[in-house]
Structure formats: structure tokens, C-alpha cells
Amino acid sequence: MPAADRHSILAAPGLLLLVTFFVVPVGIVFDQGLFDPAFTTAHFERFLARGAYMAVFLNTLRVSVVVAMACLLIGYPVAYFIVRQPPRRRPVLMFLVLVPLWMSILVRTYAWMVVLGREGIVNGLLMTLGITDQPVKLLFTTGAVYVGMVQILLPIMIVTCYSAMTEIDQNLLRAARILGARSGQAFARVFLPLSLEGAVTGTLIVFILSMGFFITPALIGGRRDMMMANLISSQVSQTNWGFAAALAIILLLATVAVLVAARLLTRRLVYAAAKTDTP
């Protein structure tokens, strides 16, 4: 048997898996969204016609962007801090970062209900300290959704940044210093550009996961915090299969579009960061 044939046999199980669990379901979704039973754009027209649907879509985009940015702004410095620790302390800190990942999103969201509720920990504390005498509405707000999602997704951001940062040879920073860079300049001209790819990858992963978030906005958000996944779920429960499939297609295409745009932008960013004359 020629080598190429043998290789294609080795690839068969993986290919089968991909077809069964990815190509076929996505195919079915596209089929349901676009054929009813003949080709139709009716479901998409319905989406565009009602402002409420568009509002959900825009809300999904906004929440995902804000959560991804917040995770970047918190996660990158945390990863940087951990990388700068002595080698023996780093695995311990990373372990602590990863612990929450072993709890299901549902459990963590319920935990936020306990923390943010009317009789929750935060309100208890605020009232004990006399900052307020009425419980503040924290639960079922947009803020709660942001806090919950950031907490849930932050470890992923930190891990991605951290692994990119550990790839950077520490001697590069030393070289920058001895060649005349102050520590801030060494960071801006050497560390930042070399860790940027990792930071962008982390931000995109968080963004993608946010776009599909379901439980958190449903449980701790208000009525206006509905996201695409919640809308799809409610359409499915009303057996509007075609419309639900169209919504899924829109979500998928929007996510892919953002990914492609971000990738193109990063190439320029990395290049520009290397060029800057003043940090």
C-alpha cells in the first residue's frame, strides 16, 4: 500500500469524528435555517424586521466585547505578575487560578446569586458597614452578568497569557536592560510585543465563549440582558426550528467575522509594537 493511502487510513477516525460531530450538525443547522422546504430567506428577514431581535444580537456583541476586554485588562497583568514570581511559586499560583475551572458554570453562577442577592454577602456587608440601609439591587442586572462572566472566563485568559509569557526567554529582557532600556522600556519594546499574540488569542477565546453564553445571563441577568443563546433556546422551546437555526447561523457568522478581523489587525499590531520609537 502506498504511504499516502496508509496515512489517509490513519486520519480516518479523526475525520469520522469531525464529520459526525461538526460537519453534520452544522449542515443540519444550515439546512433548517435556509430551506423550508424550498430555499428561503424568510427567517433572516424576520430577524431583521423586529428591532427586539437585533437588540439581543447587539447586546450579545456588546457583552462579549466588554467581557473579553475586561478579562484582558485583568488577566494580562495577573499572568505577568505570576510569570515574574520565582519559579517554585509559579505552579502554585497557577493552580489557584485553575481551581475554579473544575466547578461547573452552573455552580459558579448560583454562587454569584448567593453573593449578589438581596440578602447576599455584598448587601450584608454594605448594610453592616452602614453604607446603605436598604439592600441594593445587584442581582438580575447587567453588572451582575459582567461580573459573573468575567469571573468564569478569567482563568482561561490568564492561562493563555501565562503560557505565551513563559515562552519568552528571560534573557531577552536582560539583554534589553543591559543595552540601555529602563524596565518600562524593556517591557514595552520586548515583552509586550512578544506576548501580544498570546493576549490576543486569549481575548478571542473569551470572546467566542462569551458569544455563546447561556446560563449566566439567564440566571443572574435582567430581562434586557438576554443573549443570542437565550433567544435561540426560547425559539427552540416554541419549536420554531427554522428561526432558531437562522439565529444560530447569524451568531456563527458574526463570531467568525470578528475572529478574522482580529487576526488581520494583530499582525499589524505586533509589527507596530516592534517599531515604536517611544514606549
Partner: protein, 362 residues
């Protein structure tokens, strides 16, 4: 870089510097004076504290005690970027996201060198390492030897008074390493900077240095010119670490001099006072033709049996079993007008008494 206004090398002084990591003394009572423009090598086995000494000089590691001065000024409170020191790292540490040009221009940009001057200086530095045509490449597009030369150009382009090199050649293959030795020597005479070179390779140390500081356990075991370190080691450690040698314990003999039990001979007094052992280099020992006497009456003669000839190219090295049961090495040029010795041949060996170097300490 050759005009007369340029700053030349700086004097460096380590004054009783120590560095502890928990219970480990990476450096202890480290005292060293390096002259302006000198090429000094720190030579020692892995873990002897060479990198620690260099890192303290560069400002990457804080000393636990003592002082370091450059041209009389204490530098321990200065950050690395204020020390006017260039460094070539073992891993080269070229910035992967910058071109060769940008790498070499990096120290000049930070010094706010005007663009036209910067371009000239970078071009000159790259020409010096014969990489003028590679300015636009990325480091990843260069061979190991080329990366090494870019690192060198980057380290000297801002004319630092001191240049540090930590095992800078050990990532290269043998041939390249030998070619780079010549380039570095050449560079040194051209730049005039003081060079502190770190290596565990004695060959590198012997060919490059004005002086060698042999290090052991965070201290300097011996510091001297290459030929003196090779010819006159004062400790067992130095004798064994640099080149190959035969070490024999000795005891004081009647009438001065020492007795070498393993060889069954005595060596006359000259310079042997206080010797605990002698070091005999393999190339200082000669095999005598069958049954003949030593060519020169003063030579010390002893017998042995050839164990294993080792062909080394222009020389052959023989392992010889001594009557005491010990094995020693001697080396001779091939074709000395005598049939080569073979395994189990009896052989009569001789050396001049002054070629036996007295070892006074371990």
C-alpha cells in the same frame, strides 16, 4: 569605531564580593582586578560561580556583600542600563520580532542617537562582523554563527567600556567556535574594550585570554597568564582542570627533594619545598629507546608497561601501567624513528626534574 576619541576599556574591581543562595555560596570572597582593555577569562567547571560574577557585574543579580567598581566608581546601586556594559548571551538573546538592523540599532535608539548617525553605526558594526548584507533579515533566518555575530555587533555598537560574554561560543559547533575565537581576538584589539569572558572550555580560555582566573566553588583558585596557568598550576584542581596531567603524591626525601612512591624515584630539591604532589604533563615525558640510558644525566628515569596506545593524529598517547599499580599517560609525536609501542611492551620513561611542577595545595 577606530577614531581616537572613542572611550577605551574600563578598569574593573571586584572587592570581596559574595553571593549566597540559601546555604549555597555561589561566590565567596571574590576579589579580582581587571585592567583597562584587558581580556580576562573566568574559567571553571559548571556551578563554580562564573555566571554569578558576571551577572553581578551586569546588574542582573544583587551581591550579598562586597563592592564592584568600574573605573573607581561603585556600580552596585546602578541599574543595568546605566552601567555602560555590553553583553553577549549564550543563547544570543536576539529580539525575534525585530530585524537584524533593528536589533543592532536597539541600544542606539534608546540613546536617542540621530537617525543618520545610527544608520552609519549599525552599518559599520554589521560590516565588522561581515553581515552587512543581512540587515533586513529576521534572526530566525540566520544560522547559529550569524546570530552569534549579530549579538556581538549589538553588544559593541554603542561602544561600551566593558564587554561581557557568558559561554558565548558554546552553542556553536566546533569549527565555527574556532573561527569565532579568531574573530573575537581581532575584535578585542580593534575595540579596546575590557572583555570579561566566561567559559568552561579551557582551550577557549588558553587561546583568547590575556589572563585566566580559574574558578572553583565561588572562589578564584589561580589567576595568571595562560602559559603560566598551564605550566605552573599551584593546585591539584587547576593542574587537572587545565590540560591533561599526571598527578603523583610525594613525600619529603632525605637530603631535600621529594620521593615519588608511584614512580619509585626521587626528585632533587629545586623548588620542591612544601610540595604535596607533582604534576607531570603527558608531553613532558619521553620514552627511551630499548635499553639505552637517559640522553641527559639529570633526567629522572622509571619503568612501566604499555597498556593502551591512543592514536590522536599527529601524536600518540600511551597509557602506561606502573609497578605500583597506577596508570599514567604520556604522549609523543609519531615517527620518532622508533617502532611504535604496542600493548604489553616494556618501556623506560624519563622526564626532566624541572618539568615536574610542585603542587602545594589541593
Amino acid at each position: 569605531m577606530t577614531d581616537s576619541t572613542e572611550p577605551s576599556g574600563a578598569r574593573i574591581r571586584f572587592h570581596n564580593v559574595s553571593k549566597r543562595y540559601g546555604d549555597v555560596a555561589a561566590l565567596a570572597d571574590f576579589d579580582l582586578e581587571i585592567g583597562a582593555g584587558e581580556f580576562l577569562t573566568l574559567l571553571g567547571p559548571s556551578g563554580s560561580g562564573k555566571t554569578t560574577a558576571l551577572n553581578i557585574l551586569a546588574g542582573f543579580t544583587e551581591a550579598s556583600g562586597g563592592d564592584v567598581r568600574i573605573d573607581g566608581q561603585s556600580i552596585l546601586s546602578l541599574p543595568p542600563e546605566k552601567r555602560n556594559v555590553g553583553m553577549v548571551f549564550q543563547s544570543f538573546a536576539l529580539f525575534p520580532h525585530m530585524s537584524v538592523f533593528e536589533n543592532v540599532a536597539f541600544p542606539l535608539k534608546l540613546r536617542k542617537t540621530p537617525k543618520p548617525v545610527m544608520r552609519d553605526k549599525v552599518a559599520e558594526a554589521l560590516d565588522m562582523v561581515r553581515l552587512g548584507d543581512y540587515a533586513g533579515r529576521r534572526p530566525s533566518e540566520l544560522s547559529g554563527g550569524q546570530q552569534q555575530r549579530v549579538a556581538l555587533a549589538r553588544a559593541v555598537v554603542f561602544q561600551p567600556a566593558v564587554l561581557l560574554m557568558d559561554e558565548s561560543l558554546s552553542a556553536l559547533d566546533l569549527k565555527l567556535r574556532e573561527a569565532m575565537r579568531l574573530e573575537i581576538r581581532h575584535l578585542h584589539s580593534r575595540l579596546g574594550s575590557t572583555i570579561v569572558f566566561v567559559t568552561h572550555d579551557q582551550g577557549e580560555a588558553l587561546t583568547l585570554s590575556d589572563r585566566i582566573a580559574v574558578m572553583r566553588d565561588g572562589r578564584i583558585a589561580q589567576i595568571d597568564t595562560p602559559d603560566r596557568v598551564y605550566d605552573q598550576p599551584t593546585t591539584r584542581f587547576v593542574a587537572e582542570f587545565i590540560g591533561q596531567t599526571n598527578l603523583f603524591d610525594v613525600t619529603p626525601a632525605d637530603g631535600g627533594g621529594v620521593h615519588v612512591a608511584d614512580l619509585g624515584v626521587a626528585i632533587p630539591a629545586e623548588g620542591m619545598n612544601g610540595a604535596k604532589a607533582i604534576s607531570l604533563r603527558p608531553e613532558k615525558i619521553r620514552a627511551l629507546a630499548n635499553g639505552s640510558d637517559a640522553p641527559d644525566a639529570g633526567m629522572v628515569v622509571f619503568d612501566g608497561m604499555v597498556d593502551e596506545p591512543l592514536f590522536l593524529g599527529e601524536t600518540v598517547q600511551y597509557s602506561v601501567n606502573l609497578p605500583s599499580g597506577r596508570t599514567m599517560q604520556f604522549r609523543e609525536n609519531r615517527g620518532e624513528g622508533r617502532a611504535p609501542l604496542r600493548r604489553n611492551d616494556r618501556v623506560r620513561l624519563a622526564f626532566r626534574p624541572h618539568d615536574a611542577v610542585p603542587i602545594v595545595r589541593d
